[in-house]
Every structure is written in C-alpha cells, then in structure tokens.
Amino acid sequence: MKLTNQELNILAILDENHRVSAKSIAMQLEMTEENVNKLIKKLEEEKVIVSYPTLIDWNKIEGKETIVAMIDVKVTPQRGVGFNEIAEQIYRYPEVRSLYLMSGTYDLSVTIEGKTMQEIALFVSNKLATIENVVSTTSHFMLKKYKHDGVIIEGEEDKDRRMVVSP
C-alpha cells in the first residue's frame, strides 16, 4: 500500500502520541480538521491503524500489580498449515497478550500477564503445555519494564535540562 505524504505525516504524529486532537493535527500539517478526520477513518478502515494503545503502568497502582512472563514454545508444525493452527489455539486464550512466530531455537514467543506467578504457572502447565504438538515451554518472568513499545517508562532523558531562557 502506498500512502500520501499527508497520511504518513498523520501516522507519524499519532505514533508519537495517539491522544492528540484532530484539530492539533490539522494545525500541525496545515490541513482542515475535516480532512484529517477523513484520512484517519480511512487508515482505520484499511487496518493501517490497528488500535490505539493505552500504556498503563499497572505496577504503580496498589492492588493492580501484574506479573508478565515471556514463554518460549517449541512445537511440531502440522502438515499443510504449518504453525498457524497451533498459533490460533494459543492466541484465542484471553491470558495471551501477544504471540509471535520466531526464527531460532524456539518457534513461538508467548507473552502472558497475570496477577501472580502461580496464575501464570497454572496457565502454562494446564493450557499451553497440553496443546497437541507443543513440545516444550521455557518461561521467563519479566522483572522490570524500562521501555515498552518505544516508550521509555521512566527515563532520565525526559527531563528538560535547558535553561529557561537562552540565546
């Protein structure tokens, strides 16, 4: 798909900050608000814009802390459909936050989010490991998030160190 410069510019702005208003985008790109809305709708319909992530740091909120695990899964691919069918069986579970097919020493990378380690362990042993053609799983628990989807969670670099007025 080939996009126009205007469309690419809109995507660049939304990629930086999806909360920005259509009015602000219009002013930044010297377009009308109407036109901006039209193009955003088109990009949504074409699934170029898939969804608007809201990045919430749940671990800041008491009682809402979560644990994330990334699980390497080895599988035996099935004749005819390869990895797709097994992948589908896995991503249907609501517990699964993301799923990627990987090259290298394992095949699928599954990200699970849960309230406790116990919860994640149960998911792996009861659901993931029992799927036919899953050969092995290796779980890694995430200890701290420094950067997520291009966003630095709490960075030193965000501070404006400039003087208030300068030449």
Binding site: N17, V20, V165, P167
Partner: protein, 401 residues
Amino acid sequence: MSIDYQQYLSTTAMRLEPSGIRKFFDLAASMDDVISLGVGEPDFITPWNIREFAIEALRSGQTAYTANAGLLELRQEISNYLNRRFQVEYQPENQIIVTVGASQSLDLAFRAILNPGDEVLIIEPAFVSYAAIVTMAGGVPIRVETNADNGFKVTPDQLEEVITSKTKAILLCSPNNPTGTSLNKDELTAIAAVVEKHDLLVVSDEIYAELTYDQEFTSFASIPSMYERTILVNGFSKGFAMTGWRLGFLAAPRELISVMVKIYQYTTMCAPTMLQMGAIEALRNSSEQVEKMRQSYWRRRNFTVQSLNRIGLECHTPGGAFYVFPSIKKSGLTSEEFAQGLLQEEKVAVVPGNAFGASGEGYIRCSYAASIEQIEIAMNRIGRYMESLVRTKNTVLEEVK
C-alpha cells in the same frame, strides 16, 4: 583600602551592552513551573549514536590536542558535508577550521578581517552576540533595521544606504534568529550584487541551514562569484542538537583561513578532541535523524503560527530556524512589559523583541523547540493573557469616559 576597579578595566569591555536575553533570563530563572518558549536550542537530546562515538573516543584514550584546525578526518567530513548538502567545495587541509561553536567562528572571522574603525553591517533584529563580537574585534557595528512588512528581509537599497568607505563586511544570518526569516536564492543574489559592487566580504552565519521548511537552503558561498568573498560559519548546535558540545566550523578562502588559524593557535589551540570524534559520526550517520527533527519542527512551526494568529498576535510564517516573531503591538505594551507580564501572570517565558535590537521592539520571540503539548498549553495561556489585557484596557477606557 578600596580599589577603583574601573581604572583597570578595558573600556571596550565596559561599554558592551548587557545582553537583553541575560537580563530576562535572571527573572525567568527565579520562578518555578515556567513553560518556556524562551530557549534558543533544540529540545532533542543529541542522537545516541553521536554520543556513543564520543564516549568511545574518551574510553579509548583520545585525550590529547588535535591539529589547530581540528582533526583532519573531521575536516574531511565537513568538506564532504558542505559539498553534499550545499554544493560548495572546500579543501579540508587549508580551508576549514573546527571551532568551539559557531560563536567562536564569528569571533575568529572578525578578528581576522577587522582593523579599528572598520564597519560591519548587521541586519536587525539579530542574534544577540553579533554587535558585541564586532565591537570586541575593534570594528563598528552598523545596524540595518528590517521590518515585518516584508518579512524582516533586508533589501539591497537598505544596504546601499548605509555602506560607506569604511564598510568592510556584511554579517548575514539566514535562517535568522530571532525572526526565522530565510532568504531565498534570488534575494541572496540581489545582496551579492551590492557586495560585489562595493568590494565587501560577507560573514554568512548558516547555523540554521538544516532547519528550513518551505524551500531548499541556499548557502551564500554558492551564489556566483560570492565564494571568494564569503566566510561561511556553521556548526553542530542546532541541526544536530549539539548545543552543549560547543562545536562549530568555518570555511573560507585559504588566505583568510590561514590568518584565522594563526589567531586560533594562540587563543584556543583546538576544539575538544573526543567531541570532535562525535562530530565525525554526526556528519557520517545522522542525516535520517536530522531530517526527523526537522519534520518535527516543521509541524510545530505550523501549529505555533496558526495559534498565535488566532489569538490575534500577528505573525508571519518564518521559513527556518525554530523561532516565530509575532507582533505584540496590539497589546499597547512594550515588548519587555509584555514578556514580563506574561511571565508573572501566566508563567510563560518568551524573549522580548528589543533584546535583538531596536527594530525588535513591538515583538516577542517564541521558540517552538518544545513539545506540542507544552506549546498548546503556552498558547492557551498567552490567549488568556491577551484577553486580560484587553479587559484591563477597556476598564481603563470606561473610567476615562
């Protein structure tokens, strides 16, 4: 015993005007939670690859002096860059000096060419250092005032009017700080005719060359027959987001450079070695990031200009740098009163236009090197400030009636 220090001080130094920016800086710095549109530097941090290169240089022990004119490898990169970006050709061996910021380039240029009493034309509103640098080099700054009606562009006629037998050079700055005005090829060519006719030199401050929006940047040295008459000043501060590195450069005819190198070796020796290494990486591998920053400034310029015009602070659309220079005449206040009131009442810092010369009176400089969110808040506050001024004015008028 009390000493009268006046008797020891240089009269030239004592007579220098304190910078209007500095004055305002002290006031702004004393307040908390200020949204600043007062800064003249990028809000980006130097791209990581450049920083990493400098760190590596330090780690591997590159801690000794370089050649006076800078690392030859860097001068070669500067030569390639000038050629690639602006189609001007300079020999790395004898036509380029790496300096401590464009500021020092300007200082070296004027020290090299001025004799006491020589006049230098400065187009105002202008960068705060210009007049002082010329004065310190023994020259006489001659101010040429431009105005908003033609977008703060200087005309050949204006130059003709002030040129005398003492005029030695014109100091050009495009895109300009504080107006953002960018001169196109035709406008530069018209200036070139005057330069040639009167046998002048041009010191061309091209520090904002990477930050132009509506048309390609034209280097003054690329204008026919101007190469021989141009001292090109540029650097890494603005386009590469490297203000704190203090790295700039000069490019000029060999005969001029050799004198500047002589001065440089006695005053500075060379620019910091490990930072010069970082600059090599900046020129080799950062064009994509420079372009990304430029795009971001372009969007913020559009946003800022439109916001100001909606508020009623008339503002031309500048072609470069990261400043807008809206008129505040409607407020009935001087630029200093306006900026001071805005800071105190709404906690937004801008720079009063008169800091850049008398022709800047009636204007303020707003830098849009800030996040869109910050700019948006600042614009709302400026709008509210304007409304409060109008209200006060109306009440005063009522009372007079």
